[in-house]
C-alpha cells in the first residue's frame, strides 16, 4: 500500500533547476522515493546543442549528469533511477532546453502492526493469511517437493 503521484518538471534557460524536497511526517516516518523514468528534450530545443541535466543529492553527496540530450541525435533518455532521500536537485548545466523530467513520487505506507498476533502476516501474501493449517501445510509441502526436485537434477 503506497501513495504514488506523477512527477513532472520543466527546465529551461531561465528556470534551470528544480528541487525535490520532502517534508517528513514525524508521526509516521515513511520511506519516500523519487523515480525518474524519462528525460525529454522539447521540440523548440536548438539543433546540435547539448542539453545536460545534472542531479545533486545531499545525503549521498552525489553530483552527476543523468541526461545528455541533443536535437537530431538523442531526443529522450530513460534513466529509471531512484532517489531515496529528502533533497534532490536537477539542474540544466548545459543548453537552453526546454527539458522535461518525468517520473513518480512513491511514499511507502507504514502500517502499525500488532507484534502479538500469531500469524506471519508481514511476509506472507494475502491468500495465505488464511488461518487454514491444511492450506499452509500444502504450501510448505509443495515448497519441499520443489527443493527435492532440484537436488535430484544435480
Amino acid at each position: 500500500m503506497a501513495e504514488e503521484s506523477f512527477y513532472g518538471v520543466t527546465l529551461t534557460a531561465e528556470n534551470n533547476s528544480a528541487t525535490w524536497d520532502v517534508v517528513s511526517d514525524c508521526d509516521y516516518p515513511r520511506g519516500q522515493k523519487l523515480v525518474i523514468k524519462q528525460i525529454l528534450l522539447g521540440a523548440e530545443a536548438k539543433e546540435n546543442e547539448f542539453n545536460v541535466v545534472e542531479v545533486t543529492t545531499v545525503k549521498d553527496n552525489a553530483q552527476i549528469p543523468i541526461a545528455v540530450l541533443k536535437a537530431g541525435e538523442t531526443r529522450a533518455v530513460n534513466p529509471d533511477v531512484e532517489f531515496y532521500e529528502s533533497l534532490v536537485t536537477f539542474k540544466l548545466i548545459k543548453g537552453s532546453g526546454p527539458v522535461y523530467i518525468h517520473g513518480q513520487n512513491i511514499k511507502d505506507d507504514v502500517e502499525v502492526v500488532d507484534m502479538e498476533e500469531e500469524d506471519e502476516e508481514d511476509d506472507v501474501g494475502e491468500d495465505e493469511e488464511l488461518e487454514n493449517p491444511k492450506k499452509r501445510a500444502k504450501i510448505e509441502q509443495n515448497a519441499a517437493d520443489g527443493k527435492n526436485a532440484k537436488n535430484k537434477k544435480k
Binding site: 500500500m1 501513495e3 506523477f6 523514468k37 521540440a43 529522450a76 518525468h102
Partner: protein, 154 residues
C-alpha cells in the same frame, strides 16, 4: 485482486485529444488504487517529414488531500529523428488527458491500466475469505494435498 487492461489510443490532427477517466468502481469492491502506465508512444508511417509531433499529458490527481494538475509534454517525435519513445511513465490515481499539441500525427499511445481492488480491512478480508472457503471446502474433504488436481490460484 488486480485488474489489468491494455490501453491504446491514436492521436491525430482530426482527433488530437484522448482522455483517460478514473475507472468506475465495481460494486463488490472498494478500489484501493489504480494507475495508467504509458509504455510506448510512436509515430505512424504517414507522418510528415520535418514536423515535430508533441504529445502533452495533463494529469489531475489527488495527492495528500490536494488536487494537483500537471501539464507537460511527454513525447516529442519527428520523422527522420525519433520514430518512437518508451516513456514508461505512470499516472496514479487520477484522470489524464493526452493531447497532440504540435504536429498532425498519427501518434499511437500504448500502455496499460491497472486497478487494485479490495481493501486491507480485516472485516472486508474475512468476508472475502469466507466465500473462498465455501468454494474450496470440497477439495479439502477429499485430500488435503491435492497435487496435480489443478488447484488454480485466483
Amino acid at each position: 485482486m488486480e485488474s489489468e487492461s491494455f490501453y491504446g489510443v491514436t492521436l491525430s490532427e482530426k482527433e488530437p485529444i484522448a482522455q483517460f477517466d478514473v475507472p468506475e468502481i465495481p460494486e463488490d469492491y472498494v478500489v484501493h488504487s489504480h494507475k495508467l502506465i504509458i509504455k510506448q508512444i510512436s509515430l505512424g508511417p504517414e507522418a510528415k517529414s520535418g514536423e515535430f509531433n508533441v504529445v502533452q499529458a495533463e494529469s489531475n490527481q489527488i495527492a495528500d488531500g490536494e488536487k494537483k494538475t500537471i501539464k507537460i509534454p511527454i513525447a516529442v517525435l519527428k520523422v527522420g529523428e525519433t520514430r518512437s519513445l518508451r516513456p514508461n511513465i505512470e499516472f496514479p490515481n487520477g484522470s489524464v488527458t493526452f493531447k497532440l499539441v504540435q504536429g498532425t500525427g498519427p501518434v499511437y499511445v500504448c500502455g496499460k491500466a491497472e486497478m487494485n481492488l479490495g481493501e486491507y480491512d480485516d472485516a472486508q478480508m474475512y468476508e472475502e475469505y469466507s466465500d473462498e472457503d465455501d468454494e474450496e471446502s470440497d477439495l479439502d474433504d477429499v485430500a488435503p494435498q491435492t497435487n496435480g488436481k489443478g488447484n488454480k490460484k485466483k
